[in-house]
Amino acid sequence: MTNKVKTVAEVVQTIPDGSHIALGGFAINRGCIAVSHELIRQQKKNLTLSQGVVGLDTDLLVGAGLVSRLIMGGGSLDRFGPVHCVNRARESRSVDAHDYSSLTICFRYLAGALGLSFIPVKSLLASEVLERLEAGSAAKDVQRMKCPFTGEEYLLLRALNPDVSFVHVQVADYDGNSQIHGARWENEEQAKAGRRVIVITEELVPTEYIQRFPEKTIIPAHRVEAVIHQPFGAHPTAVFQCYDFDADHLRLYVDHVKRVERVPEYLKTYVLGTKDHWEYLDKVGGLRRMNELKADRVLGY
């Protein structure tokens, strides 16, 4: 059909400062790393960032100072450590953080994806998470309500419609039909809630391949504005059935960012000091390293 293939630099050039960006990674899995790097290279400002469980992709953006508001359900780099940059930015209040839970972020996207402006949910009630939302700049996004049919107490959530949703996927065709292998967390909702949807794919396939497995298409072409073909685009996070996370580089990352003084060093070496993701990949070990990380056919990691 059409050819929507663009480079990450071309796509990021179209994103104005102040945009609301949603990233599709979860901790150390399918992080939108190539996108985060390019946003940093192009020095975008004042971003609102939403994500279910923020991981390395968002930690980088916050560490680089691009983010002024965070809408998140949680955050972690799993056993490699916490999201140091995010947590530090929260402690210093340099970002306005709206804390939800995984389900409530997913439901805010779900409402957005379904074309609803609100949706009820049974989480967050009787918690300080909700009290803090109600007391801050997120107050406009939450509202308590009794079900008109049962009288049960609910939280109503305002739909979340990011300006641009990025999702890293295993397979997409030139037209944007995108297939995710393994667990999908809130990616379907996060993508379909987006006003603009950009997929970053490990592999670019002809539509004929998509037609062989049409039940795997999670994001259909008509919702996708651009396809970024970037193999190893999620390194050092994992992409199931493609490559494992790079434990060495994750430790190196955490070792840098756990102290605020060393964040610029990481950014300089691996992001600002590389002109694109290919150069980044060379710097972190190139073909030989990527081959070591390549997923086992049976295990998928």
Binding site: N29, G73, G182, E186, Y301
Partner: protein, 253 residues
């Protein structure tokens, strides 16, 4: 069995809280270890759900986190947050939510968001993720954590995931499920009074001393006149934990 580690006692005690055939939503860490142990011993028909959208995986290698692809192996369903946490957990068919936490209070309220030092300085941690959802919606909630006074507190620094807030009942709080059911530490198993929702000691691990438990519990803890002893893990349980489930000691070490 003097060589049995506290984490192994915790994992085995956690596993025993799961009945065969139940549906469990599991957080990573010791909850994960306990549920895998349950599944490989007395609960082969356990339904093992991960919030990210994995059902009944049979990991060959120990995953380092919930989104580690090691968690995807031999699953019966790869799906989504909407499905697991919406269509199972909020749907009301999850029997057990199994969680870790930074802090807990005497009504089973959990804090996974932030800690404050004595000067009032705040330090942020992982936040809720699926924790609040699980605590709000599972039929019963099991918590597993180290027994330290700074963790078992009179009041949590941030109420991330509600138990019996202020001692109130779940319906009154607008929550579903029956709330906190067990707190499993490396010293003891603690339950909650069905009427007052107050914490009560259920059993003491063989290695632990009652006075240490009292000393290291920051909230009022009802102590029965006779304190039962928690059974130690069986040799087979220890073998499974050490050789198969977490041989590198990622969570048990």
């Amino acid at each position: 069995m003097s060589g049995v580690r506290g984490t192994e006692i915790m994992a085995a005690a956690g596993a025993r809280e799961i009945r065969d055939g139940e549906v469990v939503v599991v957080g990573i860490g010791l909850p994960w270890v306990a549920c895998v142990l349950a599944k490989r011993t007395h609960a082969p028909r356990l339904t093992f759900l991960l919030e990210i959208g994995v059902m009944n995986a049979e990991p060959k290698d120990t995953p380092v986190g919930v989104a580690d692809p090691r968690n995807f192996y031999r699953a019966t369903c790869w799906t989504s947050f909407r499905d697991v946490m919406g269509m199972s957990l909020q749907r009301g068919v999850v029997d057990v939510g199994f969680l870790g936490t930074l802090e807990i209070d005497g009504f089973g309220n959990l804090n996974t968001t932030l800690l404050k030092d004595e000067s009032g300085k705040v330090r942020y941690f992982n936040g809720s993720a699926g924790g609040n959802d699980t605590a709000s919606l599972a039929r019963r909630v099991i918590v597993i954590m180290r027994h330290e006074k700074r963790k078992l507190r009179q009041a949590v620094a941030h109420l991330t995931s509600p138990g019996f807030v202020g001692g109130r009942g779940r319906r009154e709080l607008g929550l579903r499920g029956d709330g906190p059911h067990r707190l499993i530490t490396d010293n003891a198993i603690i339950g909650f009074d069905p009427d007052t929702h107050a914490a009560m000691l259920l059993s003491l691990h063989p290695v632990a001393r009652l006075e240490d438990v009292v000393e290291n519990t920051g909230f009022p803890l009802r102590i029965p006149s006779e304190v039962p002893t928690t059974p130690l893990p069986t040799p087979e349980e220890v073998r499974l934990l050490q050789e198969e489930i977490d041989p590198k000691g990622i969570y048990l070490g």
